[in-house]
Symmetry: C2
Subunit: 433 residues, 2 copies
C-alpha cells in the first residue's frame, strides 16, 4: 500500500463531495488499487462554515499557496472555480511538477493551451474528467477505451439545467419563463441563469470535448453558441407532434479534415437514444470509425457525481505519479497539433425545422416555396396549422439537408415578404444520418 | 515515440478487426499517446485464407508458442477463443511477464481466478475490456472513472443476438422460432444458437462484471441463468400493453454485503433508458453510491467494435509496460477477497409478471388470489383477457415486491389448482427502485 497526499483548493459543493467520497470509500479504493488516498490539506477562504463533514485538525487552511508549495502534498485538486485565481493556482502547481485535477471547464476553455503546455513542460499532468458531463466518465472513455478511433461525431447533452427545463416544458406544456422560475426556486437553475440557458456552459464543455477529439486546443470563438432562452412552448408542441424532441446539443463533427462545432437547440428523433435523456441528466453520444455508435449517460452535475469524477482522476493521477509516468494522455492528446481547421459556418449542411406565420392569402405559401426552391432547399414535410386568432397561419416546415448560407438567405427573404407576419423561427434538425 | 511489438494469437473475425484498426489509425494513436503500435506477429492455424488485410512478410505464423516465447514481442493478444488452448497460451505468456489482452469471456468466467493470480505473481497484467459489451468501455469505466464508488447495482443488456430477437418480436409480433431462424439466416445468430439464447454468454459477462464490482472471482454456479428460448409472442404483447418491454438482463446487486446475481428475461418500464436499447446494441446501467445512475451503450459484438476495445487495452497495456507499472487495477480489483457471499436465491425480493390460464368458472380468480395472499404477495395490477377459444381465460398479473421463495411456492400451488389450465409463466419485473 502506498499513500498519496492530496491538497484540495476550494471547499465548496464539489470540494465537500470529494472529501465525503474519500471518507466513505477511501478504504475500498485502497483495496482496489493499492493506493491510499489521504486528504492532507484543504484550502478555502471560508474555513468556518460547517459543510457537514469533519476533517482532521490542521487540515483546513486559508492559504492555498501554502498547500501548493508544501512538499508533503503529492497532487493538487483545483475546485476554486473561475478563470483567474484558478489559473494561477493550476499553473503554480504544474510548475512544481505536481499533477492537478480540476472540474473547471471555463478554465480549460479559456486557458487550456497554456495549462496543457505547462503540464507538458514540467513532465506532469492535468486531469479534468469532472469538467465535462459531471460523473460520466466520458473524457476517459475518449482517451482510453476509444483511443484507437478517429472520432466522426459527438453529440452532447451537457447542461442539466437546460435539459431539465426542456423536459418539463415538454411534459407540462408550460412557457419557458415559468419553468425557469420554478427551476430556480427548486435549485435546478442558478440566478442569474445566463451561463446555462444561453449555452455558454455547454460551449465550455464542447470545446474540451472537441479539443480531445481532434487534438488541439479549441478557442471558444470556434463554437457558435445558441441557448434555449425564450423557446416557445408552441415549438415544443410542434416538434413533439412531428416525432421529435428539442435538446440543447453540443454538436462536434469532422468532415474532410475540417471540424464542425456548435451549441444549439436541435430537434432529435424521439426514437433516438439521446432523446430519452430527460430531467437533469447528461449524455454524450460518440461515433468512432472503429467502434461505431456509443453513448455515455449520467448526472452532469451535483456534489457527489462530480466528486466521483474528481476522485477517479485523483486515483489515476496518483497511479501515474507513483509509476513516474510523466505526461499523461490527457495532456498529449490536446497538443497533437497547434490548431485545427474549422468548417466555414455557411458551408455546413444540415436539416432544419422552420416555423413561419403567414397571412391567410392565396399565394402566400407559393411565395415561400419559391424562395426555398431558389436556394436549393428541399422540403421534407409541411404542416399548416389552423388559422390563429391573430389572423395568421402558423406553418411548420421540416427541410432536407441544405447549406447553412442558403438557409440564412432564404429566411431573410421570407422575413421580408409582406405575407410573413412574424420573425421565422429556425432550428437544426439532427437525424444522425 | 516508443514502439510496442504486438503478438496476436488468432486471426479470426476480431483478430482481423484489430489488425485493420491498427493499420487504419495506428499513426493517430501514436500521435495521441507517444506509443507506436506494431503488429509484429500473428499466429493462426490457417494462414492461407484471405482476410482482406495485407500483412508484412514474416508476420504470419502457425506457431503460437513461438510468438509467446519471442523476446521481441512485448505483449500478447489472445483471440483464439475457447477455454482450453486459450488458457494455456494466456498462462504461458503471463508466466513470461508478458501482458495479455483478451476478448474471451468464457475463459475469464471459467479460469479467471487462475489467470488473475498468475498475472499478479508475475508482476504483469491481463486486460479484458473486449470480453464484456464489445466496444463499450464499461470495464474501464468501472475500474477507473467509477473507482471511488461502491457499486449498488448493475443491469446489463449484454447479448446482441437476444436483444435483436426481442426487438424484432416486439416490432413485428412474430413468434420466437421464426425470428430466430431469420436472425440465423442474416448472421445475427449462430447455429446452434444455444450459448446466446439460453443466456450462457450473458452469464459469462455477468460474472466478469460482478467480479470487478465486488472484488473476487465469481463462479458461474453463482449466476442462476435463464434465457429467452421459447418466449411467447403473447408475453411480449401483454407486457407492451402494460408499459413494459422484455429484455434479457444480467442483474447484479449488493444487499448488506451479499451479492445478488442472475441472468433472466425481465420486464423493464418503457420509460427507462435501458428499454430504449434496441436491435443488437448492448448497454450497461451502473448505479454507484457516489456517482448515482450511469449508463454505457454501444455495439456489443462485431469485428471492429470488439477490435476497438482490444486496441484500447493494447495501448493501456503498452503504457503500463513502458512505465513499469506492474500489476494493473484490472488484476488487483478482481483479487481483493478470496470469495464473495451470495444472497440465497429464495430470499431475493422482486416484483414479478405472472401469466396464468384459468378456467372460466366462478371462484377461479378467488382461489388464485387466496394463494397469493397466503404467500404475502401483493398484487399491483390484474388484467383478465377475453376468453380464449380454448375456453380458458388468460390472466396477467403484476405483483409488488415479494420473496422469491414465496413466488415459487405460490406458483406451484396455483399450477396444481384444477382451474389452472396451463403452466403459469413468471418473469421478473425490474422497476429500478
Amino acid at each position: 500500500m502506498k499513500e498519496i497526499k492530496i491538497g484540495i483548493l476550494g471547499f465548496g459543493t464539489v470540494g465537500a463531495g470529494v472529501v465525503e467520497g474519500i471518507q466513505k470509500n477511501g478504504a475500498l479504493m485502497a483495496e482496489r488499487t493499492g493506493i491510499v488516498p489521504v486528504v492532507a490539506k484543504i484550502a478555502d477562504l471560508d474555513i468556518e462554515t460547517d459543510r457537514g463533514i469533519s476533517v482532521g485538525e490542521g487540515v483546513l487552511t486559508t492559504d492555498a499557496m501554502s498547500v501548493i508549495t508544501d512538499d508533503g502534498i503529492d497532487l493538487i485538486v483545483e475546485l476554486v472555480g473561475g478563470t483567474s485565481i484558478a489559473r494561477t493556482f493550476t499553473l503554480e502547481a504544474l510548475k512544481r511538477g505536481k499533477p492537478v485535477i480540476t472540474a473547471n471547464k471555463a478554465l480549460l476553455a479559456d486557458h487550456g493551451e497554456e495549462i496543457y503546455k505547462t503540464a507538458r513542460e514540467n513532465n506532469t499532468g492535468i486531469y479534468y474528467e469532472a469538467s465535462v458531463g459531471g460523473g460520466i466518465p466520458i473524457l476517459r472513455s475518449q482517451r482510453a477505451g476509444l483511443i484507437g478511433n478517429r472520432i466522426e461525431s459527438i453529440y452532447g447533452i451537457l447542461n442539466g439545467t437546460c435539459n431539465y427545463i426542456l423536459t418539463r416544458m415538454e411534459r407540462e406544456g408550460l412557457p419557458f419563463d415559468e419553468i425557469l422560475a420554478d427551476a430556480q426556486a427548486l435549485g435546478y437553475a442558478e440566478t442569474p441563469p445566463d451561463l446555462d440557458i444561453d449555452g455558454i456552459d455547454t460551449a465550455h464543455k464542447a470545446v474540451v470535448l472537441a479539443s480531445m477529439a481532434y487534438g488541439a486546443p479549441v478557442p471558444m470563438e470556434a463554437c457558435p453558441t445558441k441557448g434555449i432562452r425564450g423557446l416557445a412552448a408552441s415549438e415544443i408542441r410542434n416538434t413533439e407532434e412531428l416525432g421529435y424532441r428539442i435538446k440543447l446539443l453540443a454538436i462536434i463533427k469532422e468532415n474532410h479534415g475540417e471540424v464542425e462545432l456548435s451549441v444549439e437547440p436541435a430537434l432529435v428523433p424521439k426514437t433516438h437514444m439521446i432523446a430519452s435523456v430527460s430531467d437533469s441528466f447528461n449524455a454524450v453520444f460518440v461515433k468512432g470509425d472503429i467502434v461505431d455508435d456509443t453513448m455515455y449517460y449520467g448526472r452532469g452535475a451535483g456534489r457527489l457525481p462530480t466528486g466521483s469524477a474528481v476522485i477517479g482522476d485523483i486515483m489515476e493521477a496518483a497511479s501515474d505519479k507513483l509509476n513516474g509516468k510523466g505526461v499523461p494522455v490527457s495532456v498529449t492528446m490536446m497538443l497533437q497539433k497547434s490548431e485545427l481547421d474549422y468548417c466555414a459556418p455557411g458551408s455546413i449542411e444540415k436539416r432544419c425545422y422552420i416555423r413561419l406565420c403567414l397571412e391567410d392569402k392565396p399565394g402566400s405559401m407559393a411565395k415561400v416555396m419559391n424562395i426555398f426552391g431558389a436556394h436549393n432547399i428541399s422540403i421534407a414535410s409541411v404542416v399548416q396549422k389552423e388559422l390563429h386568432e391573430s389572423g395568421c397561419a402558423p406553418v411548420v416546415i421540416l427541410t432536407q439537408k441544405a447549406k447553412e448560407s442558403e438557409f440564412v438567405a432564404a429566411i431573410a427573404e421570407i422575413d421580408a415578404l409582406d405575407v410573413s407576419t412574424c420573425t421565422p423561427i429556425r432550428m437544426r434538425l439532427e437525424d444522425f444520418e
